[in-house]
């Protein structure tokens, strides 16, 4: 199937369209809220919350016996919120650090969830099959009403985010200061955490408990690489998330037996890897290029300033000197001499070199510049 065929299919096939829309919206809302989680250094909170949602699903099934996704996700929401605020109270009320609290709650809830799931599977009830889809998600089960629901939740998130943008930004950067200015940080914190829980619950059906946190973190981590503005970061993260959803769904629909959730997460990871390597400001590639360029420039500058020290003792700055004189100084090679010549800073005649006027003044100012940057 070519890409254009796939796009045609996307517009004609109802199921595929529903799933693509659903995963795109999910990716967008997760990227948006994930930015907040990453900047609050609560990256693992998402992981803990999604795992904490599992027993809720099991309990909801045990109580109602229904497999309707709304009922089960309501159970997930309750136990996810319970887990989230339990973690927060452990951190504030005990000496435990946040990673310990997260780990504890994550394994406790997940353990209970798995226990209940195995218990349910042993029941003589035909209805029980398929609950384990919440572990890794099953995008194919998305219905139009699920997508509508996602869209509504996402709009509410976006609206509140825009409304309290100033306050959220302040809270993310400096919570203590936020408090002194009179803002209710408990309210803001509860708001953010509740939204993160909501986004996770939305994704359980599609991506599943185990991989859900990647949906929150990957787009945000990728977006952070490209910008130094919070607004752009949030917008980019939402875009990366949405594209992960669309592309992931496309790949999994084009090949047999590829589960959608994991593919989406992998696509999101590709965004992260590409961003880590190729982003201009913080990317590894450009960092390395800049590093090498700076190192080479510095080497040239060192050679040049050495030449300057020799030349400045003569009345005629362009008085030729033998290259051998540079042997006292380790930093020169034929290549660096030629490079200096090419930049019109020195003139090479046979085995002699002399500074050009340009080279002389460049070397002189170089020295001043280095002093200034040290200041």
């Amino acid at each position: 199937m070519t890409i254009s065929e796939y796009i045609e299919l996307l517009f004609n096939d109802y199921t595929l369209r529903t799933i693509t829309l659903g995963t795109a919206i999910l990716g967008a809302v997760c990227g948006m809220l994930g930015s907040f989680a990453v900047l609050r250094k609560q990256s693992l909170l998402g992981d803990a919350i999604s795992h904490a949602a599992l027993p809720g699903i099991a309990v909801a099934f045990l109580i109602t016996g229904a497999k309707d996704s709304n009922t089960l996700l309501l159970g997930a929401l309750i136990s996810g919120l319970l887990g989230a605020f339990w973690i927060k109270s452990i951190i504030t009320k005990t000496h435990l650090k946040s990673d310990t609290a997260l780990g504890l709650i994550l394994s406790l809830f997940f353990g209970v969830g798995m226990l209940l799931l195995t218990f349910i599977q042993k029941q003589p009830n035909a209805n029980q099959a398929g609950l384990d889809k919440y572990l890794f998600g099953q995008a194919a089960t998305l219905l139009e009403k699920d997508v509508w629901f996602m869209a509504i939740v996402t709009s509410v998130c976006l609206g509140v985010l825009l409304l309290f943008w100033k306050e959220f930004k302040l809270l993310l950067f400096d919570p203590d200061y936020t408090k002194t200015l009179g803002f209710n940080i408990k309210f803001l914190d509860t708001l953010i955490t509740s939204f993160i829980v909501a986004a996770i619950i939305l994704g359980l059906q599609t991506v599943g408990v185990v991989l859900m946190s990647a949906m929150l973190l990957a787009p945000a981590a990728a977006a952070r690489q490209w910008t130094n503005s919070l607004a752009i970061m949030v917008a980019l993260a939402a875009t990366f998330g949405a594209f992960s959803g669309v592309i992931g769904t496309g790949i999994s629909a084009s090949y047999p037996n590829l589960s959608t959730g994991p593919v989406i997460v992998l696509v999101a990871s590709v965004f992260v890897i590409v961003s880590f390597i190729f982003s201009p400001g913080r990317g590894l590639l450009f960092k390395e290029i800049r590093f090498r360029k700076n190192r080479n420039d510095l080497k040239l500058h060192k050679t040049l300033s050495f030449m300057y020290d020799i030349a400045k003792n003569h009345d005629d700055i362009s008085h030729p000197h033998t290259v051998k004189i540079l042997n006292n100084f380790q930093g020169y090679t034929k290549k660096s001499l030629h490079k200096l010549e090419k930049e019109n800073l020195i003139v090479l005649i046979g085995s002699n070199w002399s500074l050009t006027e340009e080279g002389f003044f460049k070397a002189k100012n170089l020295y001043n510049q280095h002093i200034e940057t040290n200041d």
Binding site: L39, K41, H95, L163, F164, W165, K166, E167, K169, L170, L172, F173, D174, D176, Y177, K179, T180, L181, G182, F183, R224, T227, N228, S229, L230, M233
Partner: protein
């Protein structure tokens, strides 16, 4: 002695899990002083400021700002936290951080406009950071970051300034620049309270001092109480006790 009292602290006690960090502090700070809070590590200096500002909840005691509870007087108070208390890799610019100083007077939801931006630029100018207004904050040096924090407090246009170790990790130039601003504030009749570590500069920089080591040791004009007796009471005895243990 000056008449008006800027900050009045009454029986303030703060504890982290049974261990008292501040014990029964009574302290009145007159309006218009430039005051240093000095004391050894763990003496509760930062905690005192945080308790006054309601960041930490005391287990007992009360604080009034110009005679009224702090929560009614927020707009009269500005705060410069320790530089290390935030993540400087946060995606924002110097100007944006200074603008945060206007958020308190704006209140909920309302965004900063032209007036606020103008005030923020003026504050940046005062601390000599105007050329760096569009810099990402991680690309600023430690001293420059400290100046940004100071500018953020200046923009609050308060009556009382609380500063938690504004001289920590800054070079001599920045230290001079900051102390000049503090002195200008005092001249304008503002009250400035600074957690300070360098005892040698206390007489030069400040006119008022509080010795603190869990309890309040002494408070008053530098000329009257900054002496060996109080220094030993604050630092020496505690030091001896810890050696004996």
């Amino acid at each position: 002695m000056k008449e008006e009292i800027a900050v009045a602290i009454d029986d303030l006690t703060v504890a982290y899990n049974y261990k008292p960090v501040l014990w029964d502090i009574d302290l009145t700070i007159p309006k218009g002083v430039l005051m240093a809070i000095v004391g050894p590590n763990g003496a509760g200096k930062s905690t005192l400021i945080k308790a006054i500002l309601g960041i930490i909840k005391p287990i007992a005691g009360s604080v009034t700002i110009f005679g009224k509870p702090y929560k009614n007087q927020r707009k009269l108070v500005a705060y410069v936290p320790q530089k290390g208390s935030v993540d400087w890799d946060f995606p924002t610019t110097a100007l944006d951080v200074v603008l945060m100083g206007t958020y308190g007077s704006l209140g909920w939801i309302k965004r900063p406009g032209k007036t606020e931006k103008k005030a923020a630029l003026e504050a940046l100018e005062k601390v000599g950071m105007l050329p760096f207004k569009s810099r990402q904050i991680s690309q600023l040096s430690g001293g420059q970051q400290q100046r940004i924090f100071l500018a953020r407090a200046l923009v609050q246009n308060a009556e009382i300034y609380f500063m938690d170790e504004p001289f920590q990790g800054v070079d001599a130039t920045t230290e001079k620049a900051i102390i000049n601003i503090l002195k200008i504030l005092r001249k304008a009749g503002k009250t400035v309270i600074v957690v300070h570590h360098d005892l040698q500069t206390v007489p030069e920089y400040f006119d008022w001092v509080t010795f603190l080591n869990v309890k309040k040791i002494a408070t008053g004009p530098v000329s009257a109480i900054f002496n060996n007796e109080n220094l030993i009471k604050t630092y020496g005895i505690n030091y001896q006790v810890s050696v004996l243990e």
